[in-house]
Amino acid sequence: MKEIVIISGKGGTGKTTITASLAALWKNTIIADCDVDAADLHLLMQPLTKQTNPFYSGKLPNIDMNLCNECKKCIEVCEFNAIRNDFSVSKIDCEGCGTCAFFCPTGAIRLEDRHCGEWYLSETRFGPMVHARLGIAEANSGKLVTLIRKEAKQLAEKKGLDLILIDGSPGIGCPVISSITGASLVVIVTEPTVSGIHDMERVLGLTSHFQISSSVIINKADLNREMSQQIESVCKNCNIEVLGRIPYDRIVTKAMVEGNPVVEVDNGPVTQEIQSISHQIHNRLYSNQ
């Protein structure tokens, strides 16, 4: 089974647009949205949700005021200042470390499973989709990403499908690490700007740190030729293949506003380039077997 993950380092480079287009071209892949913090893929996939499941992760202390003798031990031992003077717990600050519960002399603190969001099994016109919604201001995004990948794999096995297409999150931290570890191929979408290059270099550092094979797509490649050239030479130096150079075209935003993957509504240069990228990814995934 192959997992291909689309990430970007910098946000807003077109990662989700490209993921949606690949999903539309390939059909019959499992689609997984691991950008749980700002999940947007469903806006283009328009999934029909078949199953909604709660996502529990970590712990949250529940203080029973009938047993509490107000000794303040919990407040003292909490490294995160999550317990207020009235013994209420600030959900936003609590890490769920449980130290308070272990130190409470009267046993007034019970650790409960923390409800952090929802995850869904859905059908789309391009194939089955696993996605999620992390509760606002909730932590444990990495754990949710791991869960989605696990469910996507199970679903792939059940349906006899071989390929999982994953929309990752921006950055290089916890959810990104969870979405790329052990993947078959990481595709980094960048843009020809100083930020785009800087952030791409950091993500390339990350993929090489975890020894995951990766390649690059330059989106809006004609926005600044010099910067595009610079991306090409960075990639060349690191021995990273540039899979394609998608030109800037307003059709992309237009398609998004209409809720469609751009390849479904356009036959121009953008779509042609994404088609060629799609072939190259296939070749890479299935050539050296």
């Binding site: 989700t16 947007d40 890490e95 470390c97 992390l134 999150s169 950055g171 690490i177 926005l223 998004m256």
Partner: protein, 294 residues
């Protein structure tokens, strides 16, 4: 006008909407006040690419992880029982520590009955400090492969807000609505949410609005590339009674300047006025919401 010292954060649910553009241009617009810009997008810090600060100090940041003194350890297993993250595991005559799982809660150290747990350190990144003309710039850089950004964000904020607090402190927050963002915008006076008028922009804006409402921080919105996409963001803001503080049209010149690290106010000086107005609106909103609370 006399202003009290304020801290504002520039955030957005969706990435790439123009947070850094707003933060850097705003920092360079304000005159007659001391300004500090803190780039809290420690996974992908970008503000320095536009401000080119001369870095004067660079400090490593590390967090607590436990080290077990095996001479004292009696293998009672209390630390492992407490740790919710599986970061410290007791097996027969050994105690294993997994630094990448540790949340630095100090619980194991506190619970150990024979004081066998000592402080060890794990490097998570650096905080850099310098000046771009009169603007003080501070930014964090998360070490590659390191998963947890919040402690580094905390260190960046501490560097900027513990002593010599500027009249205006601007925080460039990471994208999203989960723990790193919360860490970045916690305890600020005002949040500016930058969005773009597309379905993705609106969807993520709604999440961001939910977040600032939970935190009960006054906020307003900037619509970037306001001449693209559709009108849904305006409808939403109108319905929800959210002030739109500034609209920035989609102009090739701005985009091209951004590509090579140029500030908007340098390319188009008329934007200085717009950012100055933005600042005035923010001051007014803070003043009026303070009245409401009082």
């Amino acid at each position: 006008m006399e202003f009290k010292k304020i801290i504002i954060a520039i955030a957005s649910g969706k990435g790439g909407t123009g947070k850094t553009t707003v933060a850097t241009n705003l920092a360079k617009t304000v005159t007659g006040q001391t300004v500090t810009l803190m780039d809290c997008d420690v996974e992908e810090p970008n503000a320095h690419l536009f401000l080119n600060p001369e870095i004067r100090e660079e400090e490593p940041v590390d967090i607590f992880i436990p080290r077990v003194d095996l001479d004292r350890c009696t293998h009672c297993g209390k630390c492992s029982e407490l740790c919710q993250f599986g970061a410290i595991v007791t097996i027969k005559d050994k105690v294993l520590v997994f630094p990448e799982l540790c949340h630095s809660c100090l619980g194991c150290k506190r619970i150990c009955p024979v004081e066998a747990i000592e402080d060890d350190k794990k490097a998570i990144g650096t905080v850099s400090m310098g000046f771009s003309e009169s603007v003080r710039c501070i930014y964090g850089t998360l070490k590659i492969g390191e998963a947890m950004a919040p402690p580094l964000i905390q260190a960046v904020k501490k560097a900027g807000l513990s002593k010599k607090v500027s009249d205006l402190s601007i925080i460039d927050a990471p994208p999203g609505t989960s723990c790193p963002v919360i860490e970045a915008i916690k305890n600020v006076d005002f949040v500016v949410l930058v969005t773009e008028p597309t379905p993705f922009g609106l969807h993520d804006l709604k999440l961001a609005v939910g977040m600032v409402r939970i935190l009960e921080i006054p906020f307003g919105i900037i619509v970037n590339r306001s001449t693209t996409g559709d009108r849904q963001v305006w409808h939403y803001c109108h319905k929800e009674n959210i002030p739109i503080l500034l609209e920035i049209p989609d102009e090739r010149e701005i985009a091209e300047g951004y590509a090579i690290g140029k500030l908007m106010i340098d390319l188009k000086p008329e934007y200085k006025n717009k950012f100055q107005n933005l600042m005035n609106k923010i001051h007014q909103t803070i003043a009026s919401s303070a009245k409401v609370i009082a």
